[in-house]
Amino acid sequence: MIQYLLLLLPLISALVIVLSSQRAAKWIALIGSTASLIAAAVFAVQFPHWTTGSFWPDLNTTPILGNFGVDLKIGVDSVSMLLVLLTVFLTPLAIAGSFSAITTRMREYYAWFMILEASMLLAFMSRDMIFFYVGYEFTLIPMFFLISIWGGPMRGPAAIKFFIFTFLGSVFTLASVIFVAVRHFDSTGIWTFAIADLVKFSSTQLSDKEQFWVFVGLMSGFAIKTPFFPTHAWLPLAHDQAPTGGSVILAGVLLKLGTYGVFRFALPMAPIGAVECTTFFAILGIIAILYMSLVCWVQTDIKKLIAYSSVSHMGFVVLGLFALNPLGLQGAVMYMVNHGLSTGALFLCIGMMYERYHTKDMEQLGGLVSKMPVWSFFMIIFTLSSVGLPGLNGFVGEFLCLMGAFVAEHDQPSGYPGVLHPWYAVVAVIGLILGAMYLLIMLGKIVWGTLREPHGDGGNGHTEHAASELPTDLNFREIAILAPIALACLAIGLYPKPLLNAVEPCVKEVLVNYPAVIDAYNAKRGLVNPSVPVKHAEVTK
């Protein structure tokens, strides 16, 4: 029952917030989200399948469109569990990070935040495609309001672009899911939207062409959500304009919905389609890494810089996913979690800075370490994590993603052939330099150097206002927000083993059809895997 409790707690808190007073709202939200965190922790402790890749619990269903197999099935495997934990971990922190930033319409803000949490949890915990979609899609609504009520000066266009863009992609995802379900019904006579059934059916029964289009359809939603290279246009604007809490959740969790979708649906459902598109998407990933790094370089707005860097980092995830081997996929999942932590934390840091100076312009700000050493400390830690410094969490995912891509060749003796070429990784690895470049330049401008602050009376009197409310350096609440993330970063960086072990069986599950499919595909291209007898390749073709 704990899983339902986990879903209901945020909703209940949202309801309580709506009925409560403006002043109590934030505390209720904090309590509610902390309660979710505790519930999730209990859930995680109870969860028996950390190393087996199975789903749990398996039995509870609440039919909604029973005739059509749409059931509210809640269950997690270890990857979902990790993302659930990421969500419940970041939400209270994002809420606490909004305490001083949000001063208007507080009830609405925190109510939407809790609804957002519930929606994300539903997406991660649902074992039914339609309910995944419900959660996946509904996140738009709270986020729309978060951006368009509490966002920056361009909030309106930002929110609308974010909404329409993501909506446009996901209708195709939905259409693909329905297509698979319909085909499942046609051939078995049973309506179901259960992920496991559809994945099994789709990966084995659909024709090559159908798989291709199913894959394209699924990816069109996930690619926009992630976002992949040419479909990222909504992201810088949305991140930039969103309030701090919104940015944190947007970067920390919502982007992962896209990659989670690829991992959980697109790859397992349509292996043949995926293999056909692998090169394309891997190139997109590489372009994202390099292109966005260069774009980051010339940003002057620090929040935009981090936003663009998200796209660049998601490029690594994409590359890892399309390496189609355990290394890459492990890396991708690790990267999802780690990017959520480090980028979320960076947005929190920037928010704290913004509350003090009311600018995000790196030309106006600089040398903050002399005024805010604690803040700078956290900023440096999270930046280094983003840079991918070994020993911090970012490295684990990044290295594995790239390594996965490097070893994704047709003749690998690892049992998992790929369709890429080492050059992909070698080109992408330049992203490590560029990443270090723009992030360190950012640090050099904003943290190090001589102190530069915006001119005292910046017109709107915000500065004095802020000065009276907030101390120069971080206060206890803010440290308490950032410290857990920093600890998590360090812990994952130094001891990623449990996470790797937990992800590994799921990765194998996702890849179960791939070696044969890839061998067949490569054989078609004239590349034979020496570890597989030729016969095998022919049979699978």
Partner: protein, 565 residues
Amino acid sequence: MSSFLPMGPKIAVLTPEIIVFGGSVLVSIIGLSRSKTLRKSVPLLAACTLLASLVALALGYSYEAADQAGVLMPHFNKIIKTIILVVGIGLVAISVGHIDRRMEDAVARGATTFDPMRVVRGEFYAFMLLSICGAMLIPGSPDLVWLFLALELTSLPTYIMVAMSRGTRRAQEAAVKYFFLGAMSTAIFLYGFALIYGSTGSLQLSTIREVFASQSDRGGIDTLGITGVILCILGFCYKLAAAPMHFYAPDVYEGAANPVTGFLSFIPKIAGFSALAVLLSTVGWSGHAGFTATGTVISGLPAPILATLWMICALTMTLGNIGALLQKSVKRMLAYSSISHTGYMVLAIIAGPGLGFEALLFYLISYGVTNLAIFGALSGLQKRGEDVERFEELSGIGRRYPGLAAWLAIGSGSLMGMPPLLGFWAKLMLFMAGIQAGHTPLVIIAAINSAVSVWYYLRLIGVPTLSPPGTSSEGVLKGPSSWPRFASAVAAVAVILLPLFASRILGNSAEFAPVTPASNMKPANTTTQIAPTAVNPKQAMHNALQETSREENAQLALHCSPTRL
């Protein structure tokens, strides 16, 4: 073949309509009363009439009687009537206080004195009930005459309602356009009826179907019949507000008062869809050269009709959506949105009985309820006794009336298909039906369209809640009656909660297949009652299809599929 259907079952089947008709007479008489209390009770009476009719329908509707009365699709018939009645109650509720609002406002300003004889409440509700009665009659029509009369009964009162809904020139202009173009469309489908009659030699729909079936056996329905059906479809498009007959809709919806617009965007539409379903059930969705998608034979409508509907579907969705993008008037925007939703529903019609009809009904429920939420909220507002129409008049009203803004937002969310609201499930089923029928391209067009529609629905969400209050929204106040707002709230809650009961609303999809009246097929006493069974009938049908060979399959489709399985 001449068939004299027994009157008994017919009347039994028609009890709900008779109640509504009686109610309309009663309402029009009471509306003339000099007693203010009695006059004020007219909407309540109208609602009670509809409620009584609903009770009669729920308790008294028997599939057996419907069969004997020549109803082609008894289950479909029942559900359509239920939807009409339930939404009808809501439509009555949102129009409470609206018709006389102008005068009351004038009285309050001291511009005039109250004159009971100028009150139009009675007729208005009588017309409303009449139109509802007409719409209820359509899905059960056994023959073309009935269909024609029922369609006219649905339309004629609406022309008057538009004209009397507001005292403005715009309303009268709307009425004129609506009426004249309506007359033209009536002529078109009437001519279509004539051609069908010419092709089949019968007005009985069941006979027509048999003749068409035997024509198909001989190589195809003849040109006369096909042309007739296409003309009918085009004529019905007017009722649906489907392209290319949708041009009147924005003007008429804009000209009519808010509750009437709500009425217009639902009752004629459901009437049109019922008529279309009834008409198309004569040509049938099975046994024609259909689509072969992925190796499975999926039969569909005859190719020309399919082509017509395909075009109508694609055009309607697209024209509706792109039109709505540019609007400054909420009502005009909703008119275009209503057009685009028609397009989606045509997709369900194309998909045919079974899943398609289930999707159609679900969509109609969803659309009706959502419409109530939106038009209820709009009707609950006024600006100096006038309707609230433009977006800027709504801007920032969420600060003052958070409830109304919320109902509007929920309604918009449902219309755009945002999960987990009702509209999403409707669209989900629609897409399922479309894909299952092999119309993936149409589904993709629909998907793109629903993404495009987000833009203008977001405005309806955003303007009341996010925009700052402007000068135009200053004078916007709550309307005199709280019933529209109450109806809107109930509808909005239903939009959220109905999905939880979705599987219980519709029953089994297989029941939507058109039924050949028992009197024609077999002795009445052997007709079995449809009852929900443990086994999924769809699955049973599927299994049956799997086991039979291709030829048997075709035969089965020809002769058996119209019957219930």
